[in-house]
């Protein structure tokens, strides 16, 4: 399996402005140095409580927000600079690649050695830099920045989102045909009205809505049906990655299971890759292959589903698991009740961000930030005491 998405050290800060001149007085550290990968065809679950930055990650991946720093590699292409203004993009490319290649060249001596020392995107870009661009920064930037419109369009087509609220995420003035058909038309995936209608019909029928309804408006559908339409809109572009941001959280229990089952079936049929963002660990457990647990802008634990549930190693993961009520009155479980509320991401606690609420916290936790450690293959934890 190869990684379709690779996120490195992603940071997103939002400024808080105040005063007459709207000076920046503080930063909300919504996402603060997050790295992870998503492999082709798998479902990664991103779970955490409100304010942990999970939605911000989704928005940054879609580039509805520009990342503050970090690198996002999608489908073997660095997409970080895709939506930056030209000057910023150039400075990003120089900072991330040119400077690195030149430093490596000094260290290793030959261009071939530099290329061989690198892998993936870096390697490809290094080859491009030394051969095609003849080590010229300007030329290299122009090469990467050429054909930008086309690249952006491809990116938009390949990464799609399903939103939480099926009421506000569909334009009430558009018919279903326009909502679902707009993407394929813009991307010239269909020719002419007849093909468009056929496309919309087939996508709608994929998600369990009769094609005859395509001339209706969103208000004529129930919440569950609207969520199906939202999914159809994403699917119509045959995306490589679908981000589902709390896609089933607003739905009733019986409708939720329909939609979850549908999304699983579609994944199977269309070989989709999902990033499933939710606050509900039970839903995440059911849909995911791998799970990422976030707390206050950081990843605290990530593992394959089975490893995470067999051996939850971060105290926050354990608390989260124990807090979820089990629909079985025969089980009386030990509950870990966390003290207090989630601290503000403007002034996150020093050291380990969880130490203010942690039942295992010791002196070191407030002083030193724990790094991610691999405690068993593929199981990473950011806690000083994880075994």
């Amino acid at each position: 399996m190869s990684a379709i998405l690779k996120v490195e050290n992603l940071v997103k800060y939002f400024p808080i402005r105040a005063g007459v001149f709207k000076r920046v007085v503080a930063w909300i550290k919504a996402v603060d140095g997050v790295s992870f990968e998503i492999n082709e065809g798998e479902t990664v679950g991103l779970v955490g409580e409100s304010g942990c930055g999970k939605t911000t990650i989704g928005m940054v991946l879609l580039r509805l927000y520009e990342p503050t720093s970090g690198r996002i590699i999608f489908d073997n292409e660095d997409t970080t600079y895709f939506f930056m203004p030209a000057l910023r993009a150039r400075s990003y490319i120089k900072r991330t690649y040119v400077d690195k290649f030149n430093a490596l060249l000094k260290e290793l001596g030959s261009k071939d050695a530099v290329v061989n020392a690198l892998e993936g995107v870096d390697r490809r870009y290094a080859e491009m830099f030394f051969s095609e661009a003849k080590s010229s920064t300007g030329k290299f930037c122009s090469l990467l920045l050429s054909n930008m419109d086309e690249k952006r369009k491809q990116f938009r087509k390949n990464v799609q989102i399903v939103f939480q609220d099926p009421y506000s995420s569909l334009n009430p003035r558009l018919r279903i045909k326009s909502i679902v058909g707009e993407g394929p038309a813009v991307h010239k995936m269909v020719k002419g009205e007849k093909e468009l209608i056929n496309k919309v019909r087939s996508v709608l029928e994929d998600v369990g809505i009769s094609g005859d309804y395509m001339y209706r408006f969103p208000h004529e559908f129930s919440g569950g049906q609207r969520q199906r339409i939202g999914i159809a809109r994403a699917l119509a572009l045959s995306p490589k990655l679908v981000i589902a941001d709390e896609a089933v959280s607003a739905l009733d229990v019986s409708i939720r299971s329909q939609i979850i089952n549908l999304m699983k079936d579609l994944q199977h049929e269309h070989k989709l890759t999902y990033l499933f963002i939710s606050h509900d660990l039970s839903v995440i457990k059911y849909v995911s292959d791998r799970i990422i647990v976030m707390y206050l802008g950081k990843i605290v634990e990530t593992a394959a589903k089975k490893d995470l549930f067999d051996n939850p190693s971060h105290p926050y993961t354990r608390a989260l698991m124990s807090a979820i009520p089990i629909p079985n009155p025969n089980i009386k479980k030990e509950r870990i009740i966390l003290k207090g509320d989630v601290p503000s991401p403007v002034n996150p606690p020093s050291g380990c961000r969880f130490h203010t609420r942690c039942y295992m916290a010791q002196e070191i936790c407030s002083k030193e930030e724990p790094q991610m450690r691999e405690i068993s293959p593929g199981h990473w934890v950011a806690c000083h005491f994880a075994k």
């Binding site: 409580e49 009733d252 039970s282 807090a323 089990i326 025969n330």
Partner: protein, 336 residues
Amino acid sequence: MEKKPVLSVKNLKTYFYTEDGIVKAVDGVDFDVYQGETLGIVGESGCGKSVTALSILRILDEKGRIVEGQVLLDGVDLTKIEEQDMRKIRGKDIAIIFQEPMVALNPVFTIGDQIMEAIMLHQKVDEKTARNMAVDLLRKVGIPEPEKRIDQYPHELSGGMRQRAMIAMALSCKPKVLIADEPTTALDVTIQAQIMELMKELQKEYGMAIMLITHDLGLIAENADRVVVMYAGKVVEYADVKTLFNDPKHPYTWGLLHAIPRLDIEQTRLYNIPGVVPDPLHFPPGCKFNPRCEFKEERCTREEPQLIEVGENHTVRCFFWQKVDEAKKRKVGEFV
């Protein structure tokens, strides 16, 4: 042991007279709430669980009317008494906690003002005593620095703290019945665990009855003693919590239990309850669940089933509940 219920709802019918027609939001609901016990009411949106709560307190909007039935609080029928007598009961004998504390609290008054208002309305105490009582209540519900918090406005508190303040307000007159309408739905799970723990402690201390209204079967399993399952304005199943979860008899209850993703068992496929909750203006004839029921027969589309007793304190509104027993032999978690 024969216990007497504190609150008993008998054949309650609440209809809304809208421009489009009559919405039978609650259509013949019966249950009893006992002292010191928690009654869970579970159902999906539009099943009438919240309207039941509003009807008990008689705080429906002007389109809604209680057309039939009784709400007996210690033998007094609340649907018959004068509005001014009802005002003496609201907040004193029966208190309610709503889902969204930010909406339920008044943003222009401090937390203290709002708690003291309830105290001074129902108990003959002066302002100073009321304030002291309010501080004690805030401390009791686990709000740190209550002397400072009492003068703060709702927006200055976090979601969990606001819900604690709501609980303090509801408890201010030691109600006999506390109605909790989705009390933790807007909160994070770790905060939900705190609030539920708090409510359990306070229930033990005050001995009040709690009506827990929620869509979350997990919360019901862990907190309720008896459970009412509602669908389309009617009670479809009523049993004690263990019986309901171990031995559900109504196809809807059984379906719901297998439609939820669970942490405690492995599932490869969730059960699909097909279709949607019916539109209250156009309920199907016969059993209201019949269009979504996999066990339905011709009779279900013609005739509405009555609640039948299938065990001790276990009633079900279904003609063919034995079929659910058959279905239980299927392998859990693997529905194709």
